[in-house]
Amino acid sequence: MASNATRIPGDVSAAEHRRQVISHQLGRWIPLIILGVMSVVILAPIMWTISTSLRAGVDSFTVPPKWLPTDLAVENYAQVFEKVPFARQILNSTIITWGTVLGQLITAALAGYAFARLEFRGRDTLFWVVLATMMIPIQATVIPVFILIRNLGLFDTVWSLILPATPTAFGTFLLRQYYLTIPIELEESALIDGANQWQLFNRVYLPLVKPGLAVLAILSFNFHWNEFFRPLIFLQHENYPITIGIFQLQGYMMTGSISVVLAGVVVSLVPVIIIFLIGQRYLIEGIMRGAIKG
């Protein structure tokens, strides 16, 4: 009786223990398997694109797919530049993107400071108005902006993309957040040292919000380098950026070698990857702050 009473609970706890070990092991391995499979699903198309961009034209689009870039057909990359004015398109993308980034950094650094640290009548109302414009999608403004740009004689120039994208409600909001984190005591001690209002902004605050400027620059670079919809509307022929260049390549090479098209895709990814390597901390921080809007 007594031995029975002690044995049964002992058995139960052994079974319970085994169950826990199994569920612990499952809990460790199932997530790893899911992650492993998904990382292959995510990375395989990119690997295929890179390896196919280096394959000789004749067997660029054959099954079974080949995963190793054994041909090293670097001439595909040269061909991209012959089929479409790719060098010109890279230059266009560079000018448009950096122009927009620079414009956004300047205007948002000023406006964010005003909203965060200066006091004036109507400030909070204006802030809500600016914030509300973040809800407006590009489609709701593109037709009037197109008419305006045409009338200003800016159609088919880089300004048609840079100017409308320069004022940024999102950037203003983002930088305001950064200014707000800076302790106000710094400002007081600078004022006691005799700094004027401009010096206060330029020498005290601006250096301290550099991380915020980096986040804005990187998000904005990535967004505008990848833009397709607006360039399609506002630009023509030789002023097209690289995104439309790839689209043109795809059209020309429909029946030819897809390796050349994919070489174009790979080239278009290079600046974005470089930016990622330099500033992934800022990029991820920016997205975590809940933003992917240009």
Binding site: V63, V130, T166
Partner: protein, 316 residues
Amino acid sequence: MTSRKSTAVAGGGIFHWLMQDTMDGLRRRRAVLGYLFLLPTLLGIFIFTAGPVFVSFGLSMFQWNIFKPPDFVGLENFERLLEDRRVIIGLGNTVKFTILAVCSQVSIGLILALAVHRISRVWLRYYFRTAFFLPLLMSGASVAVFMGYIFHKEFGPLNYYLTLLGLPQIPWLTNSDLVMISIAIISAWRNLGFTFLIFLGGLSNLSQEVLDAADVDGAQGLRRLWSVVIPLLSPQILFATVTGVIGALQVFDEPYIMTRGGPGNASRTLVMVMYEHAFKDIEFGYGSAIAIVVFLMILVMSIVQMWLWRNRVFYQ
């Protein structure tokens, strides 16, 4: 007061008034600086965003194809819209795409974030985070181009591996019933990194105390996930959903590049129909009416988001 006198006063006076070495002077300088600093942004937003929205509403009541002067037609464009087959199909495709893409990117992103959160080895976390994040850097255009090849019926690598599993060749992009599903898969593939990061951020902010308390209460494994972790992540889930819906309603690049809206109208989206009317047929009035529909759908979602965001701030 004569005009000469007032300008003289204003000239010296304003400078003096502004540069006065008192607290009042300082306050004035800061206020003027505030308006000056805001000027470029406010002016820009007025010219390129706020103003054009009102113009769009106005234009939607005109018939205007640039060759003839604009002609006021009232709500006729909106009546036409209700009977326009392409608009209705475009709306249907957009809604279908939005539901498919958002559901998959939110649910898969959540699963991946939960799994990565459990991993303690730093290099593995880094590898997975980078892998899931990478597609987000690419343009919709380049993703559309290479995915167009990968999803190709005869020569695409995807169908090759599926046929090895005994499946038939699937006409991903050439079948009207499948095309929108395929584009949603491709779009979710790219946006997964965004939802993943949002959830990972949310998870790392969860207080360990709450999770430990749940452990003490005996909530384990899946039950803990359902009854503790997911409710705590609801702000991030709602945010990822609403942001995803706003983005998906504007889908254009991928279907435009991969299928040009085909086969037939099977992948024509609302923004594509708007683009074609406004910039191919140069019908600014009718194009604006479609733009207004897109705008109103997004506005509703944005208001939901604002409302959720305010509530969330309230709780913290």
